[in-house]
C-alpha cells in the first residue's frame, strides 16, 4: 500500500511539473490523499526497522485448528512467530502444518524462527537472567525466556530460588549481579523481586503468577506486593505475562 501512496503522490507531482495540474489543485489533491495511508506508510517504515521482532499469537481460547491456520498464514510472510499458551494437542496440530516451527512444552510456546543466524549478534556477553520463586512458576518463566531468546537475547535461568530458602538465591549471587536485565517470576507473596532488586543495580522486571490459593486471589497478592516493592528499579508485568516480560527484557537488553 505504501508503494501505492507513493505512486499517487508521484503522479500528482508529475502533473504539477507538466503544468497539467495547478498548484492549488495539487494542494487539494494532496490533502485528500487518505491521511491514514500516509500515516500507515510512515509507521510501516518505522515498523520495518524493527527487524527481528516477532508476530505473536495468543492461543488460549482458540481451537487447535484456528491456531494452526493463523500460524500457517503468518508463517508465509513473517520470519518469526511466537504462539503462546499452546497446549501439547494444539502444538501437534500447528506442527502438522508448520513443520519448520518448534514446540517448547515447558513454555507452552510454538516458535517459528527463520532468522536464527542473525541472533548471534546479540550474544555479546550481555544476558537476561530469569529467576523463579518456585517450580510452579517455571511455565511463566520459560515463556519469558523462550520469547527473549527467539528475539535474539542470551538468557540465563535460575529456578526455585524463592525467599523462604535464601541460601539458594545467594548461591546464584554472582550470576545475578552480572546480568544486564533480570526477570523475576513469583507467585504467592511475590517477595523475590524486592530482594533481587536490592542485590543488583540493573532493571528488574517482576512477573506475578497465579500460583497459590486462598488469599492469593489468582495472583493479586503477588501483583500488589511487586507494585509496592521497597526496592528501586523494579517494574511489573500483568499476572502470568511471561511473554511480555521476555519482550520487555529484550528491548532493554539489545
Amino acid at each position: 500500500e505504501r508503494r501505492m501512496d507513493q505512486k499517487l503522490i508521484k503522479e500528482i507531482l508529475e502533473k504539477v511539473r507538466a503544468g497539467t495540474l495547478s498548484i492549488n489543485q495539487a494542494l487539494e489533491d494532496l490533502r485528500d490523499l487518505p491521511y491514514e495511508d500516509i500515516g500507515y506508510a510512515k509507521l510501516d517504515l518505522h515498523r520495518s526497522l524493527r527487524t527481528g521482532f516477532p508476530e505473536v499469537v495468543f492461543c488460549q481460547g482458540k481451537t487447535a485448528k484456528q491456531a494452526a491456520e493463523i500460524v500457517k498464514k503468518l508463517s508465509e510472510h513473517h520470519e518469526k512467530i511466537l504462539a503462546t499458551r499452546v497446549t501439547k494437542d494444539v502444538a501437534d496440530t500447528i506442527y502438522a502444518s508448520v513443520p519448520e516451527g518448534k514446540y517448547y512444552p515447558e513454555a507452552r510456546m510454538f516458535v517459528v524462527n527463520k532468522t536464527k543466524k542473525n541472533n548471534k549478534r546479540h550474544d555479546h556477553g550481555k544476558y537476561i537472567m530469569v529467576l523463579t520463586g518456585g517450580t510452579a512458576d517455571i511455565p511463566v518463566a520459560e515463556e519469558a525466556a523462550v520469547t527473549a531468546e527467539a528475539m535474539g537475547s542470551r538468557v540465563e535461568r535460575s529456578y526455585d530460588v524463592g525467599v523462604a530458602g535464601l541460601h539458594r538465591l545467594l548461591a546464584q549471587k554472582d550470576k545475578i549481579i552480572r546480568a544486564n536485565v533480570l526477570i523475576v517470576v513469583a507467585g504467592m507473596e511475590g517477595a523475590l523481586p524486592s530482594i533481587v532488586g536490592g542485590m543488583v543495580s540493573r532493571p528488574v522486571i517482576a512477573v506475578p503468577t497465579s500460583i497459590g490459593y486462598g488469599a492469593s486471589f489468582g495472583g493479586l497478592s503477588a501483583l500488589l506486593a511487586m507494585l509496592n516493592s521497597c526496592a528501586s528499579g523494579v517494574a511489573v508485568m500483568n499476572i502470568d505475562n511471561g511473554f511480555g516480560a521476555g519482550y520487555f527484557a529484550h528491548l532493554v537488553n539489545k
Copy 2:
C-alpha cells in the same frame, strides 16, 4: 456475683439436708439458678488464673477526657492497663489523673503496671525478637514490643532491616535465630516475614502496616503477601495491630 450464687446453692443444700426441701424441688430450684451466673463464676475463676494479663483501652476515636476517665477507673481495680493509639495530648491528660502510668511515645501507648517485679520470672533467656522492614513501621513494632514487655516478656528489637538491603537483615542473623518467637512488622510489599520465616524454626508473627501509597491500599498489599507467605511457620495479624502481635507473642513465649 459468684459468691451470691454459691450462697443460693448453699441455702438449697441446707434446706435439703434439713428436709425442708424435697429433692425434686431442689432439682428444680437448681435448674432455675441463672445459667449465666454459674457460667460467669466459672469463667471468672478461669480468668483469675490469668494474672498478669492487662486490661486494654483502644484510644483512637476517644477524646482525651474519655480516655483518661476509662484508664483512671480501670486503674482502681487492675494491676496492668495498656492504653493504645495514645497521642501525646491524650497521654498528657491521662497522666494528669493516673500519674503512676508511663507514656511510650514511639509506641503511642500509656502503660500502667503495678506488678513489675513479677515479670522477672519470664526473663529466663527466652526472648521475643521484633523486626521491622522500615523506619516508618516502628510505631507498630513498638506497640508490639511494649505490650509484650508489659506482660512480662523480654524483647529484642531490630528495626529497618527490610528486604531491599538484605545485608542489614543478615547482620542480625544470630540474634534472629536464637529468638523464641519473632514479630515481623512490614508495610509495602510485606516480604520480610517470609525471609525471616525461612531463616528460623520458631513461630513468626507477621504484622502488615498501612505504610505505603498507591497500590498498597492501606496495608492490603502487605496483608495479602503475608497470608501467602511461602515460608512455613508464619501467622498473620490485622493491619497495624502491634498490640495483638505483642500479646500473641507473649502467650507463645511464656
Copy 3:
C-alpha cells in the same frame, strides 16, 4: 559443598603458613571465595538442627505421576515427607512407589514418617486442640492435625462446634482451656476463633476456610472476620491453609 569450601580455605591458610602466599593475596583470595557457599554452609548447619521437620509437597495441580516421583525422590533422603492436597487417585499412585507411607483421606495427605519413635518425647501432656465450626471444615482441620502429629505433637480434635450452637462448644470447655495451643478452623462468618480466644489464655491460630457461598467470596468473609477478631491472642493463616496451621502450632507447642 561446605566441605569443599573448608578445603579451599585450608589450602589458602596452608600456603600462608608456608609463606607461598602473601597475606594481602590471601585476603584477596578469601574475599573471592563465593559468599553464598559460606552462607549456605551456615544455614545448612542451622537447618540440620531442625531434625524432625518435614519436607512438604503441595500436590494440587500436579499429576499423580509427578507427585509420586517427587515423593519417591524425597523419601530417599528425608525422614519425614508430608504431601498435601492429595486426592485418592494420586495417593494410590504415590503409594505404589512409596509403600512405607500412609494416606489420610480426610486430611487429603500422604505422610512418610520414619522417625515415629522420637515423636514420643513431645507427648508430655501438652497438646494442640483442633476445633472446627462445621463438618465441611474438617478436611482443613485434619490437614492441620495430621501435620502437627507428624511433626511430633499430641493433638486433640473437636469438630462441628460452631457458634450457632454455643452449647456444643461449651461442652468442650475443659479440654479447650487445658490446651497448650489451639487451631480454630471455620468458614462462613469465621466467628469461632473470637469466641475460643475469649475463653483461653493460650495462642489461638485461626484458619479461614473457603466453605460457604455468595458473599463468603471463597473464604474472604471468614478471613476478614478472623483478622478483625476482638479477642486478643488470635493470629491468622491463609484460607484453607491447614498445613500451615499445624506447622505453626507445633512450633509453639514443642
Copy 4:
C-alpha cells in the same frame, strides 16, 4: 389532590348522564386523566394507613441551617420526625426553631414526636432487644433504639456483650430469649449476631458498624461476616444503619 381527581371524574360522569358528553368522548377524557394522580391518591390512601410512621431527615452533609429548615418545615405537617446523624451543633440550631423536639446525643438524633400517648398501645410486653459487641458500637445501637421507641416499640438495651467475653452475653440470656425481635450491632469480626441467632428463635437484625481499623475496611469485614452467618434467622442492614434496623424491628414488633 385525590379530591380534585374525584371532582373531575364526577363532572365527566355528570356530563355523561346529562347526555352532553358522548360515551366515547368520556372514555377518552377518562383515559387522559393523569394516571399518576389516581395512583398518587391510592398510594396516599395507603400511606395514610401508616399512622405513626415518621418522616426521616438524614442530616450528614447538611449544614445546621439546612437541617433546621427541613425539620421546621416537616414539623408543620407531620407528627413524627426523626433527624439522624445530628451533631451537637446541628441539634442546637434545629432546637432553636423546633423547640418541641428533643436531642438524643448518643443516638445523634433529633426527634419530634407529637403522638407519644398512642405509643403506649404497643407496650404490651413485646420488646425489641438491642445488643452491641462493644462500647464503640453504641451510637449506632442508640440510633436503632431511639428510632424504634419513637415509632412506638418498647426497647431493652444490653451493650458491650461481645463474643470475646462470652459470660457477659450469657448473663443476659433470659432477657435475650424473651425478646420479640433483636437488633445486634457489632463491628470488627461481626460475630455477635451469629451467636445470638443460635440462642433465640426470633428474628435477629444484624447491623455491621464501621468500628475497627486495618482489614475491617470500614465495616466490610463485619458486613460479610453477618451475611454469612451460620445461624438461621439473621438478616442484615447496611453498615452503621441503626435507623434502618430500628425501623425494620418495629415493623416486625408491632
Copy 5:
C-alpha cells in the same frame, strides 16, 4: 445427656439429705459438674420449645450417598428436615431411603415433614409474599417459599415482576400491600426490594441472587444495591440464600 446430669445432681442431693455428704463438699461437687452439660440441658430445654423448627442439610458439595445418609439419620429423630441445594440425582438417592419425604425440583429441596396438621394453626390469613425480579430468580424464591411453608407459614408467590416492567408489579399491588411480610428475590441491579419497600409498611426481606453476568460479579451488584436501599424496612440475606429468607420470614410471620 440431660437426664444423666439430673441423675448426678439427684445423687448429690440424696447424699446431702442422708448426711453422707457435707454441704461444702456438695457445693464443690456441684461446681465440678460439667458446666457445659447444664448449659446444654438448659439450651436443649429452650430448644424443645422450638417445636416446628426444621433440621437443615446443605447438600451442595455432598455426594448423593452422603446426603441420603444424613437425611436418613436425621429422619429417625426429627419431625422436619429440609435438605437444600438438592439436584434431581441426589433427590432420587435420598428418596430411595427416605420415601416419606418429597422433592421440590424448582426449589431444589427435599423436605421431610411429619407434622403437617399442626401447620394449619398458622394459616390465619397472614401470609408471606414471595416476589422475584425475573424467571431466573425462581429457584431461590422457591427455596424461600418451600422453607416457609414447611415451617407452617402460608405463602403467596408472584414471579417475574421486575422493575423494567413496572406494570407487572403494580398489577400485584393489592396482594403485596396485604402481605404480613415480603421476600423479594432479584439479581442484576437488585432494585425490586426498594420499590416494594416503598409500597408497603411491612418488613421486606431482600435476597440478592447470583443471576447476571459481567459487572454483576456473582451477585455483588444486587447485594450492594439491596444494602443501600433507599426504602426503610428492608433487610438483606446472603446471595442466593432462599432458605434463610424463608426461615426469617416465618419467624416474623408466626
Copy 6:
C-alpha cells in the same frame, strides 16, 4: 386486557347515561377498577408505539429445549425475537421448531424478524459504526451489530483496530467520523473508546469485554478504563453486553 378495561369503563358509563347507576356509585366502581390495569393499559398504549422493538431471550443457562420453547411461544405473538448467547447446539434446537428464524454464529444470536421491509425506513444514510480492539472481541461486537440491524439500523463494522496499532484505526478515520453513533468494543486495557471519543463529535457507546487474563479480572480492567475515559461523549455498558449496546445505539440512531 386493555380492551377489557375499556369495555368495563364503557359499561359503567353506559349505565350512568341510562340512569341505572348513580354517579356516586359509578365513582366508586371506577375507583375500584384495578389501578394497575389502567396503568397497564396506558403503558401498553405507549408500548404499542414501540413497534419494531424486539422481545429478547437471554439463553445462557437455559437448556436447548427451554430456549426453543420460549422462542417458539414468543414467535406466535411477536414480530421480532432476539435470542442471545445461543450456542450452535441450542440454535439447532430452536431452528427445528422456529424455522423462520436465522442463526448468526459469530453473534451467538438467533433472530426471528417478520418485519424486514419496514426496517428500510431507517436506512437513510445514518449508520452505527461498530469497532473492536481485537479479534477476540468480535462475538460481543456482532451481538451489538446484529441487534441494531434487527431493530432497523444500518451498521458498519471495523474490527481489530486496537490502540497498539494506531495506523489501523486511523485508516478507518473517514468512516468513523461520518458515523451517527459508535459502538466501541474492547477488552484488556479498554482504551479504544477514549481514542475514538477524541476523534468524533457523536455519541460513543463503550462495551468492555471479558477478554484478557490476570489483572483484567474478567473485564473489570476495561470497564473501569471506559468509565474513566478522558474523552467526553462516552457512555458505558456492562461487560460483554453487546445486545445492550446495539439496542441503545439504535435508540440514538433512529
Copy 7:
C-alpha cells in the same frame, strides 16, 4: 499551523513546477513533512466543524488563582467555557477576571457562553429530561443540566423522584415519556434508571452518585446496579460525572 504546512507543501510544489526540485526529491521532502502536522490540520478541520462545543476546565484540586487564570486564558479564544467542580470561593475569583461568565452554585459550574443566540436552533421541542433519586443527587444533576443547556439543548428537570416513593415518579410520567433522551442521577441502590428505562423507548443515561454511606462504597453500589440494569436502553457514566452525562445527552439530542 495548518497554514504553515500548506505553505511548505506549496513551496515544494512550486519548486517542482519550476523544475528546481526533482520529483524524487519532492517525494522525499513530502514524506519528511511532519506526519503529525498534516494529521493535526485534518483533525483541526474536523474540530472546527464542532462549533458550539465547549472547552472544559475541571477545577477540583486547582487553586482559585489557577482556575481563574485558565478560564481567563481560554476565554480569549473560545466562545464557550465550562468550568466544573467550582466552589463559591473559586467562582468569585474567576468572576473577578472573567465577568462575562456566570456561576451556577447548585451545579458548581462557572459558564462562559458568548453564543447564546445560536442555541435557539436546538430548541425545537426535543428536550433532555434530567431526573434524580434524591435531593442530595441534585448537584450532579445540575452539572448535567447546565452542561447540556450551555451546549444548546433544552432541558427539563424533575428531582427527588426516587424509587421508594413510586407515585412521585409516576406523577411525571408524561413528561418522561415525551423526552428525547433522559439523564437519571441516583446514589445508594441506583435503581431509578432501570425503572425509567422500562417506561420509555428513548436512550437513558445513568449517572451513579457517591451519595450514601457504608456499603455504598463511594458510589460503587449505584454504579454496579446501573451497569446491571435489567432495562434495555441504559448506558452508564462514571460516578458523579454530571458533565459527561450532559455532554453525551446533548450529542444524542442535537
Copy 8:
C-alpha cells in the same frame, strides 16, 4: 565495618604465618567471623560500584524538622540525595540546613547533587522521554524526570498529550520514536502507554496516577489498564511512583 573485618581476617592470617595459630583453629576462627559481616563487605563492595546512585528520602508523613534532619545527616556522607513528596514548607526547612540542595516545586523534590560534572558522560544523545496524559499528571512526571536527571540521564518532556486528542501525541512522534526509553504517566483510563507502546520499539514504563474521581478508585483504574496493555514492551510502576519510574528508566538508559 568492612575495614574492621579485613583487619580481623588479616590478624588471623598473620598469626597463621607466624605459626602462632594452627590451621584448624584458623579455620574455626574464620568460620566464626560473623557471616553477615563478610556478606556486608561483599555487598558493600558491589554497592560502591553503584557510584552515582542516590540516597532517597520519602518525606510524606514526616515533619519538616524530621525531613530536614535526615537530609542533613545523609548529606554529610553521600553525594546525591533525593527527597521526594516535599511540600514547599518542608523544602524551606530542609533548605535552611542544607543550602547546597535545590527544590523542584513541580516535582515536589529536594535534590542534593555534588557530582554534577560526572553526569555529562551519559549525555551522549540517548534520552528518556517523559509523557503525560494530562496536566494534572505533571507532578508525578516531574518526579520521574528530576530523578532520572539527578542520576545522570538526559530527559525530554512532553506533557498533556493524552489519548482524547490524538493529534497532540502524533505531533511529538519523531521525538517519541527516537527516545531510548519512555516514561508514560497517566491517570483516569490509563490508555496512553498502550498507544505509545504501539508506536515505538523501545521499553515503555507506565506510571498510573491517582488523578481522577469516582470509579478511578485512587488510580486503580489506570493501574489495571496499564497492566493489561495490549502493546508489548510496557512495564508498570506503582500508582504515583514517579521516582521509581525515573530510577528504572535511568537503569535502562545508562
